[in-house]
C-alpha cells in the first residue's frame, strides 16, 4: 500500500508540474505579454517601448527560468532602474528593498499580484474559493443522495415501470448541459413569464445564501451530475441483483426490502463512489458556467475574469487550484475504491 501511494504521489507530482508548466507557457506567450505591457504601462507604446518594458519587468528571461521563479526554486529577478532604484520580483513587495528575500514563489506562499483585482492573488482567491465551497457543499448535499436513490430504485427491479421512468429522467438530465437547464429554470421558475418562485441571480447569495436565491444554481449544477451518477448506480445495481448471493438470499425467503438494503446496497455502491469522485472535474466546468449565468462571484467567475482580462498570475493560481482538485479527487477515488472493495488489493 505504501509503495502504491508513493508511486501515485510521484506520478501526481510529475503531472502537476507538467500541467502547471503548460498553463504557464500558454499564459506567457509573447502576444499575452505585449497585451500586459500595454494595459499596465500605456496603450500607445511603440514596439520598442513594449520590448523594453517586458525586459525591465523580468518577463524577458527564458521561460523555464521564469517558471522556476514562479514556483520559488529560482531566485527572483532584480533590476536597477535608471534612477538607481532597486526593483525585482521579490523586491517590489518587500517593505525594505534591501532586505527582500531571494526566492518568492508558490513554495514561499506567494501567489503573485493580480492586475484585475489590484491586490495579491492569495488574498482574493481565498475569499472566492470559499464562496464556491459553499456552492459545492450544497450541490453535493443534493446530488449524491438524489442520484443514489434514483439509481437504486431504478436498478432494483430492472425493466419495471419505475425503472423506465427514472432511466428516461436520468438520460434527459445527462443530455441537458448547465447552460441549457440554467436558462430553462430561470425562464420557468424565476421570471414573470413562468412562476416567480426563485431569484434568477445569486448575487445576493454571496452575503447570505437562502433557499430563494441559492436553490436554482445548486440545482442546475447538480442536475447534470445526477443523471450520470444515477445511470452508473443503476447499472451496478442491476448487475448485483442478478448475482448468486442475491438469489440465495431470495431462496432463503428474505423480504425484498431486506435483500436490497442488507445484501445488494453495499456492493452496488462501490462503482458509483468512483464515479462521484471523478465527477469533480466536470463539476468544475458546471461551476464556471453557473457562476457566470447566475452572477455568483466564486472561483468560476474569478477564472473567467482572469482569462478575459489577461490577468496572468490570477489565471495561473486558478489553474493550480483546478489541477489540484482534479488530481486529489483521482487519488481519493483510487484509494477509496481499494477500501470499499476488499477483493481488490494493490501490489
Amino acid at each position: 500500500m505504501l509503495k502504491f501511494l508513493l508511486r501515485r504521489g510521484g506520478t501526481m507530482l510529475l503531472t502537476a508540474l507538467c500541467l502547471t508548466f503548460v498553463v504557464f507557457f500558454l499564459t506567457n506567450l509573447p502576444p499575452n505579454l505585449e497585451k500586459l505591457a500595454k494595459s499596465e504601462a500605456s496603450v500607445r507604446m511603440s514596439d520598442a517601448d513594449v520590448a523594453s518594458w517586458i525586459e525591465r519587468n523580468g518577463y524577458g528571461r527564458p521561460i523555464l527560468v521564469r517558471y522556476g521563479e514562479w514556483l520559488g526554486v529560482v531566485p527572483g529577478w532584480t533590476n536597477t532602474e535608471a534612477d538607481g532604484r532597486l526593483r525585482g520580483r521579490c523586491v517590489d513587495r518587500a517593505p525594505v528593498p534591501a532586505e527582500a528575500p531571494a526566492y518568492c514563489g508558490l513554495l514561499q506562499g506567494y501567489w503573485g499580484f493580480s492586475t484585475f483585482f489590484k491586490a495579491p492573488v492569495g488574498d482574493k482567491l481565498g475569499y472566492h474559493l470559499g464562496l464556491t465551497g459553499i456552492l459545492m457543499f450544497w450541490v453535493m448535499m443534493l446530488m449524491v443522495p438524489a442520484s443514489l436513490l434514483i439509481g437504486v430504485l431504478a436498478g432494483m427491479r430492472e425493466g419495471s415501470r419505475t425503472d423506465r421512468v427514472l432511466s428516461t429522467f436520468s438520460i434527459t438530465t445527462t443530455a441537458t448541459p448547465e447552460y441549457v437547464s440554467g436558462v430553462v429554470f430561470i425562464v420557468f421558475l424565476a421570471s414573470p413569464a413562468g412562476f416567480q418562485l426563485f431569484k434568477g441571480s445569486a448575487a445576493s447569495a454571496m452575503d447570505g445564501p437562502t433557499f430563494e436565491n441559492f436553490f436554482l444554481p445548486v440545482l442546475t449544477i447538480a442536475l447534470y451530475g445526477i443523471g450520470y451518477i444515477a445511470r452508473m448506480t443503476r447499472a451496478s445495481m442491476t448487475e448485483v441483483m442478478t448475482a448468486q448471493y442475491i438469489r440465495t438470499a431470495r431462496l432463503k425467503g428474505l423480504s425484498f426490502g431486506a435483500i436490497v438494503l442488507r445484501h445488494a446496497l453495499r456492493n452496488a455502491l462501490i462503482a458509483p463512489f468512483t464515479v462521484i469522485m471523478l465527477q469533480f472535474p466536470w463539476l468544475l466546468n458546471g461551476v464556471v458556467i453557473v457562476e457566470t449565468l447566475f452572477n455568483y462571484k466564486g472561483f468560476g467567475w474569478t477564472l473567467v475574469q482572469a482569462a478575459g482580462n489577461n490577468d496572468i498570475e490570477l489565471l495561473l493560481a486558478c489553474s493550480v487550484v483546478a489541477v489540484f482538485v482534479v488530481l486529489v479527487t483521482q487519488l481519493i477515488s483510487d484509494v477509496g475504491y481499494v477500501f470499499l472493495n476488499p477483493r481488490i488489493r494493490i501490489a
Binding site: 507538467c18 466546468n285 457566470t292 482569462a307 482534479v326
Partner: protein, 386 residues
Amino acid sequence: MEPLGWGGILAGIALRFLPVWIGLAATFAISIAFKRRLGLYGKIFDSTVGMIGLGMVLFWVFTALFAGMIATHDPLAVVSGMKNAKLGSPLPEGFAGYPHYLLGGDNLARDVFSRMVMGAREVLKIAPAATLFAFMVGITLGLPAGYFGGTLDMVLSFLANLVLAFPVILLFYLLVTPEIVETGIPVIMAAVLFLLPILFLVLLWNSRYRVAPMQRNVLVAVTLVVGFWLYAGLAFDADPLGLISMPANLLIVFVSVVFVNAPTVFRIVRGLTLDIKTRDYVAAAQTRGEGPWYIMLWEILPNARGPLIVDFCLRIGYTTILLGTLGFFGLGVSPESPDWGSTINEGRRLLSVFPHPALVPALALMSLVLGLNLLADGLREESLRD
C-alpha cells in the same frame, strides 16, 4: 397583419419543416422495410428507444441539410421594429418574403426561428467531424498502446491522463484565444492531429492488401493524395485548388475539441485492446504469421466496434455540448454566428424579460443531445442482444 396565435405558430413551424418530415418518413419507411438486411443499423428499428433517438437525430440532420429551404429569413438580416418581438409577430407592412417572425425576434431584431435552423447547420458541420477525427486519433494511438504495452503504453497513457486532468473549461480559455491564433500554435496542433487519420488509413490498407501490391498501391496512393489535399487545406489553409479552407478561429475550435476528446477515446480503445488481444482468434492470427498492424486493425478493431459505435453516438452529443460551452463563453466563434451556444449567451442578458431568444436554441441543443443519447442507448441494448 395580425399576430399569430399559438395554433398558427405551431402550424407555421410544422409547415416550414415539411422537407424534414418528408425526409424522415422516407428514411423510416425504407429502413423498416429492409431492416433485416441492414445489419446493426437495421436493429435500431427493433427498439423503441433507439427509433425515437434516431428520429430526433435525423430531424436535426435533415434540418441542417434543408436549412436554406426551412429558414424563413436571412439569419443575419435585421428588420426595424422587430427588436425582441413576441412569438408570431407580423413583419411591418410592405415587407417582402415570409410575413411573420414565427418564434419572435432577438435583441438585434433578427428572426429567432431562422437562426435556430441555421444554427443546426453550424453545429452539425463541426460536431460529427470533430468526433470522427478524435476517434481516428484515439484508435491510431490506443491500439498499439494496448497491443504492445511497455514503454510506449506508459508514455501515451501518461500524456492522455495529462490532458484528461485539465479542466476542459480552463483548456478552452487557454487555447481558444486570439493571442494563441497569433502564435500559430493551433496550426502546429492541427498539423500533428490531422496527420494521424492519414496514417490510420494508410496502415489500414497496407496491412490488409500487403500481399496484393497492385491493389495496395492504388488504395494507398488515393489515400495519400486525397488525405494530403485535405490536410493542406484544413491545417495550413494552403489548398492548391482553393476548394478547402478553414478560417483560423474555426480551426482552433475544431482542434481543441479533437484534443479534448481524443484521450478518452484512447483510453477506451486501449482498454478494449487489452481485453481482446487475449482471445483465441488473435492467437490464431499470430500463429499464421500476420503482422501486428493487421492483427490490430483487422482482427481487434472490428471486434471492438460495438462499444465504439455506442461511444461515438454519445461523444457527438458531448462534443455538441462542448461547442455550446465555447459559444456560451463567446470563445472562438464570430459574434454574428447563429450557432446555438452563442445565441444562448446573447439571449441570457435579457432572459427574465424576453426569454424566447435564449430558450429556443437551448431546447434545440437539448433535443439533439437527448436524441444522440437515446440512440446510443438503443444501440447498446441491441448490440448486447447478440
